[in-house]
């Protein structure tokens, strides 16, 4: 049951979306680009509806690749087919005369998909994260809706999806949903096992649903791959989790991995098999069918980066360093991969450990019959997974191959769920990510919408008055030194880094209006934007790592109270100390 404040939140954020939708979409009226290639993402999506609706399945990925050929994974193609069908029903045969309402119809589809895929999962996760604060119901709903509003009016997502025109909210919503299910422990199932067989199957039904959802997200947009290391590490950790040290058998681990693997493969087969089934030529092997599609989805031939992206490669390719010219093209992908791996590794390790740890916690809780704390622990897991996903995706953004500016939405989505835990960081990151896309927005003539949305968000920040009070975490940690360090860090962030970056952002905006760049450096300002936002994102990477570490340590500290009861913790205790030392 959804209460009135939440309803109000949803409708307000829908209102904002429909307001933004009034503004021009990417490539409207051929504002940029040449006469031959019309439009941008909007036209691409529209064209895909045409392709999928009118052509046979085997031609979807091969039809006239030069004019907005389909280059998203199959689920997008199926989605386009469904939308094309809808459009056929409601708008009638797409014609030039109906272009106006057709444009409107496209906007409507984004809003519809937003409502179906993004809103509910945001609601579920926010409710779960919020449930720890046990206020009265009314206040609870109010706080909850304020938080949800903060998530839903994130300027970047609104502008990109409803202004620029893309369907990011679908894959983000699906991914968030998968995080939700993965971190749920199926208690009934577990209990049953505990009682009868004395062992726990950690990878239960919920994890399977989660991974199916994740695969769907992955099949909607390949970008979601940025989350996959986090998810993979966490689930793997969960597989290695054991009830107690006695039952840690390789067979069980293998079955669990196997179950998840089969799930993933089945989902993928469901998504991809139709293309093989309707293959053009009966002699075609699977490889022949799928390889061209995969090539279209992962265009490695396009180069290290495209345009001006605020990632490490782009910054390193600037004039004095110009790394792009010095490194041979063949070497670039592996190098990018290597750096990315290095950057995601800490997140993965932490998540793996967390996934493994969760179990001993569960036992403690079950023995002590503290169900509330068990749900809390699950929330920690959810939070950890969200932080981890944000971390891995920002690592990908900073270091991987062929990144687009819009990929910054990926770290933003899980991060914006943390609005109660790290409000300052979340708000700051929301604005920085929007700011980093300024030139993208300017090309689409969305400046008015940009300023309005950012202003609205700033209004929200000041009005909602969410301050940095992650009390629920700090209060549990015993070590005062640790507390001090944490507080110092937070103070440093909120008093030094954020004012500096805010003033920088405003200043650069003002400077761009008044100063015309010299002739030999026409893209001076885009470059400045790239440098500043890249630095900010690097900082964000550190901050994410820090937060994840915090949760990890917290769970370990939480253990210290119960360590007598669980013998397995001797090993982990050593790690606490070591990591503590690392910190200090």
């Amino acid at each position: 049951k959804i209460d009135v404040p939440v309803l109000l939140t949803f409708s307000l954020s829908l209102l904002l979306r429909s307001l933004v939708a009034l503004h021009p979409h990417s490539g409207q009226n051929n504002h940029h680009g040449s006469a031959t290639a019309y439009g941008g993402d909007f036209e691409a999506q529209r064209h895909w509806m045409e392709i999928t609706f009118h052509l046979k399945l085997n031609q979807w990925y091969t039809h006239d690749k030069s004019y907005w050929g389909l280059d998203y994974p199959p689920l997008t193609a199926y989605g386009s087919y469904a939308l094309g069908w809808l459009s056929q029903v409601f708008v009638g045969e797409a014609s030039v005369a109906l272009h106006d309402s057709r444009g409107y119809f496209m906007r409507f589809t984004v809003m519809l998909l937003d409502c179906v895929f993004y809103f509910p999962f945001v609601y579920i996760i926010m409710k779960r994260l919020h449930s720890e604060q046990g206020d009265g119901r009314k206040k609870f709903m109010k706080n909850l809706s304020v938080g949800i509003l903060g998530v839903l009016i994130q300027p970047s997502l609104v502008i990109i999806d409803h202004g620029h025109f893309q369907y990011n909210s679908v894959c983000l919503g699906l991914a968030l949903g998968s995080f939700h299910y993965m971190t749920l422990d199926d208690k009934e199932y577990d209990k049953g096992y505990n009682n009868t067989l004395g062992k726990t199957d950690c990878v239960g039904f919920n994890a399977i649903i989660g991974s199916v959802l994740f695969c769907l997200a992955l099949n909607w947009k390949q970008m979601v791959l940025y989350y996959s290391p986090a998810v993979f590490a966490y689930l793997l950790g969960k597989c290695f989790r054991s009830n107690s040290s006695k039952h840690r058998s390789i067979m069980k681990i293998l079955t669990q991995v196997g179950v998840l693997g089969v799930t993933v493969i089945t989902t993928f087969v469901f998504m991809w098999y139709p293309f093989y089934h309707y293959r053009r030529d009966t002699n075609e092997t699977m490889l022949d069918t799928f390889l061209p599609i995969i090539r279209r989805i992962f265009p490695f031939s396009r180069g290290l980066f495209e345009g001006k992206v605020a990632n490490l490669w782009c910054v390193a390719s600037l004039q004095p360093i110009s790394i792009r010219k010095r490194i041979p093209i063949a070497l670039q992908p592996p190098l990018a991969l290597g750096l990315t791996l290095v950057m995601i590794l800490p997140f993965c390790i932490l998540l793996f450990r967390l996934g493994q740890l969760g179990d001993s916690k569960m036992v403690d809780c079950q023995t002590k019959n503290i169900s509330s704390s068990s749900s809390k622990k699950q929330n920690f897991h959810l939070k950890a997974l969200l932080w981890g996903a944000a971390g891995t995706s920002i690592s990908f953004f900073l270091a991987s191959f062929q990144v687009h500016e819009k990929s910054i939405l990926l770290p933003l989505a899980p991060l914006s769920m943390m609005i109660w835990d790290a409000p300052v960081l979340t708000h700051w990151f929301g604005i920085v990510s929007m700011w980093s896309m300024w030139h993208l927005v300017a090309v689409d003539r969305l400046q008015v919408a940009y300023f309005c949305c950012v202003l609205l968000y700033i209004c929200y920040i000041f009005h909602a008055g969410l301050t940095n009070t992650s009390t629920s975490m700090d209060s549990e940690t015993d070590s005062t030194k640790w507390k001090e360090l944490n507080q110092k860090g937070q103070k440093f962030v909120s008093s030094v880094i954020i004012p500096i970056s805010a003033s920088l952002m405003i200043m650069i905006h003002i400077l761009e209006v008044f100063i015309t760049p010299p002739h030999n450096r026409p893209d001076l300002f885009p470059v400045i934007f790239v440098i500043v936002s890249c630095l900010s994102f690097c900082f964000a990477w550190l901050a994410f790592l820090w937060e994840l570490l915090k949760i990890y340590l917290l769970i370990l500290y939480g253990d210290s109270a119960n360590k007598i009861s669980s013998p397995t913790l001797t090993f982990e205790e050593a790690e606490i100390i070591s990591s503590k030392e690392k910190h200090e």
Partner: protein, 618 residues
């Protein structure tokens, strides 16, 4: 401040939305006032190529002149930010203008119109607020907080009024400005009532009294004068507001003829006060009459002077533009949801039933309503409002000022509802004149809140067909529903906290109040402070509304296709709105009578937004 920024954001985001022909109308007026001499303003129609001729009273023409001939506009044109074409006289065939012009005109609405509106809203809030502060002898924090809260709610409801946003910022008009002036004028009248109150409060010492009375009376008069002048000025902006005139007229008459202005205060002392009071009254009346007449005539003078030989022709031309009875029918293209819409509906049905062959004829089968008949109906329906305002003005001032204020506001609301219901060729936009003052009543007690919810929901629903393009479909529905949900939440919150906080003495007091109101013969007040804001009937109404919306926007197309039975959705919408609004109208009239005539309870009953002024507390 926060609200201001938010509303600005919403309005600026609306810039690229659909514009109605009213946009072209205003653009054309800008062009006329920029390029033509004064004498031809009301004659020009660009060689017969445009229908967008100037048909508002002179003050509005001056306003357009101001917009098209000020420094900023000149600067914008000089620096070529704004294209010259924006101000050229263009025929209807060829009146596409660039985005720059659109932005310019939209910004004038946002900046000029909304600033005036905001000013009016603030003035209203202040009038209510200070009256409450005066009447509370014990400034208990909680009460103050509650009051401030309700004022905030009124402000939010007023600023984000979805009907106004749709009309001004999508459809394009300057209603905000005009309503702002109306609110300012009302607020001055309300404040004048407050000084009456002050006077009766301060009446302790006879010596102090004499000077105090004189002073307060003069401030009262000044405020009343300003209020009525503002109103008259507003009429020269847009003559539709004329229908509120009787309320003002009778209120002022009542004030003038009030027999006991001082007698009540001075008690026995004021034996000789009668005469001086009468003299004062006459003076005041003369002053008022002269200044009002001057204000009315003044804007016309330049037009008459500009063409001294043929001033009669000039005047006739202006009047014919202002009152184009012969060109227009009983109802506007989109039937406003009023009595005549129902009448037309019945008429249509009769036609169908009686004789299908005579269908194409234009004449109604029932008797034809001429402007004259409509005016007579209107006058008759206006009578209660006149009586009420007269009585309010004459009421001795040991009543609380809220009583006066509420009564007067209800008179205004009722009068504008009446004019909406019965005037000739009403636009559905006219309902805003009733809804906006109603906002300020809605935060005071539950009955008003309920009435406001009904009125605003139905009234705004009637506005929706104005934006017929699919692009705005979702936008208008969302705006409407957001506003509905917002107002329900806010009003529930205000009235909820009230009932919660009423514990101890307050609750006893409220029980007393309820008991006393229950004893009243009128049923409308019986559910005071009880029950949810939305009753079963309202919910059913909402359900019907949603289904009508669904039908008009999608099902109709599916059933009939694009070009058959085009008028049917409009017809359903306006008939539905008409039925609902007529019910609101009656309810409004009843509440007005109730507030005015409440004989015994009045001294004790205080509309509950403001604070219970009780014998225990004072």
């Amino acid at each position: 401040m926060f609200i201001l920024v938010l509303s600005m954001i919403v309005k600026i985001l609306l810039i690229p939305s659909y514009r109605s022909t009213d946009f072209d109308v205003h653009r054309n007026w800008l062009a006329i006032t920029r390029h033509l001499p004064l004498s031809t303003w009301y004659f020009d129609d660009v060689g017969g190529t445009t229908v967008h001729t100037l048909d508002y009273p002179p003050s509005f023409a001056y306003f357009e002149y101001f917009l098209s001939n000020n420094l900023i506009t000149e600067f914008l044109i000089q620096s070529e930010i704004l294209n010259e074409r924006c101000f050229q006289l263009l025929g209807d065939q060829d009146n596409d203008v660039g985005m720059d012009c659109v932005i310019f005109q939209r910004l004038t609405v946002v900046l000029v119109g909304d600033m005036v509106y905001l000013w009016g809203v603030l003035a209203m809030c202040q009038a209510f607020h200070s009256s409450c502060q005066n009447s509370i002898s014990d400034h208990s924090l909680e009460k103050k907080k509650r009051m401030v809260e309700s004022m905030w709610a009124a402000m939010i409801l007023a600023v984000f009024n979805s009907g106004l946003i749709l009309l001004d910022h999508v459809h394009f008009q300057y209603n905000g400005m005009l309503l702002g002036i109306l609110l300012l004028s009302i607020s001055f009248v309300l404040k004048s009532m407050m000084t009456l109150e002050e006077k009766s409060k301060t009446s302790l010492d006879d010596l102090v009294l004499a000077s105090a009375t004189r002073r307060t009376i003069s401030t009262t008069m000044k405020r009343e004068l300003i209020g009525s002048l503002l109103f008259v000025w507003l009429v020269t902006f847009k003559h539709l507001y004329m229908t509120l005139g009787p309320v003002y007229l009778f209120y002022m008459l009542g004030r003038v003829c009030q027999p006991t202005t001082r007698a009540v205060v001075q008690g026995g002392v004021g034996g000789g006060g009668q005469f001086s009071n009468w003299k004062n009254g006459l003076q005041f009346f003369l002053l008022l009459a002269i200044s009002v007449l001057l204000t009315v005539i003044l804007p016309f003078i330049p037009f008459l002077v500009s063409d001294p030989v043929n001033y009669k022709r000039q005047l006739m031309q202006i009047l014919s533009r202002l009152f184009p009875f012969h060109q227009r029918g009983l109802c506007h293209n989109y039937w406003a949801g009023n009595v005549w819409a129902l009448y037309m509906f019945v008429d249509k049905v009769c036609k169908k039933l009686l004789n299908a062959t005579e269908y194409p004829t234009e004449d109604a089968t029932l008797f034809k309503v001429t402007p004259f008949i409509a005016a007579i109906f209107l006058l008759f329906a206006m009578i209660p409002a006149m009586i009420c305002s007269w009585m309010i003005a004459r009421k001795p001032m040991n009543y609380s000022p809220h009583q006066h204020q509420h009564g007067f506001l209800y008179c205004i609301v009722y009068a504008s509802m009446t004019s909406f219901m019965l005037s000739y060729h009403v636009h559905e936009k006219a309902i805003m004149t009733a809804i906006v003052p109603m906002i300020f009543l809605s935060v005071t007690d539950r009955t008003s809140a309920r009435l406001f919810l009904r009125m605003s929901t139905l009234g705004h629903f009637g506005l929706l067909p104005l934006l017929y393009k699919p692009t705005e479909l979702l936008l208008k529905i969302l705006l409407h529903s957001c506003y509905l949900v917002l107002s329900i939440t806010l009003l529930e919150k205000i009235h909820h906290t009230k009932s919660l906080s009423s514990s101890g003495i307050c609750s006893i007091l409220e029980e007393e109040n309820i008991g006393s109101t229950l004893s009243c013969p009128l049923p409308v007040q019986s559910d005071l402070d009880t029950g949810p804001l939305l009753k079963t009937w309202d919910k059913i109404g909402l359900g019907i509304m949603a289904s009508i919306l669904l039908y008009t926007e999608s099902l109709h197309l599916v059933i009939f296709g694009h070009d058959k039975m085009e008028f049917l959705p409009l017809l359903i919408t306006s008939v539905f709105c008409a039925v609902g609004l007529i019910m609101c109208w009656f309810q409004c009239g009843l509440v007005m009578l109730h507030v005015t005539l409440k004989p015994t309870v009045a001294s004790r009953y205080e509309p509950s937004s403001t604070v219970q002024e009780s014998p225990h507390h004072t």
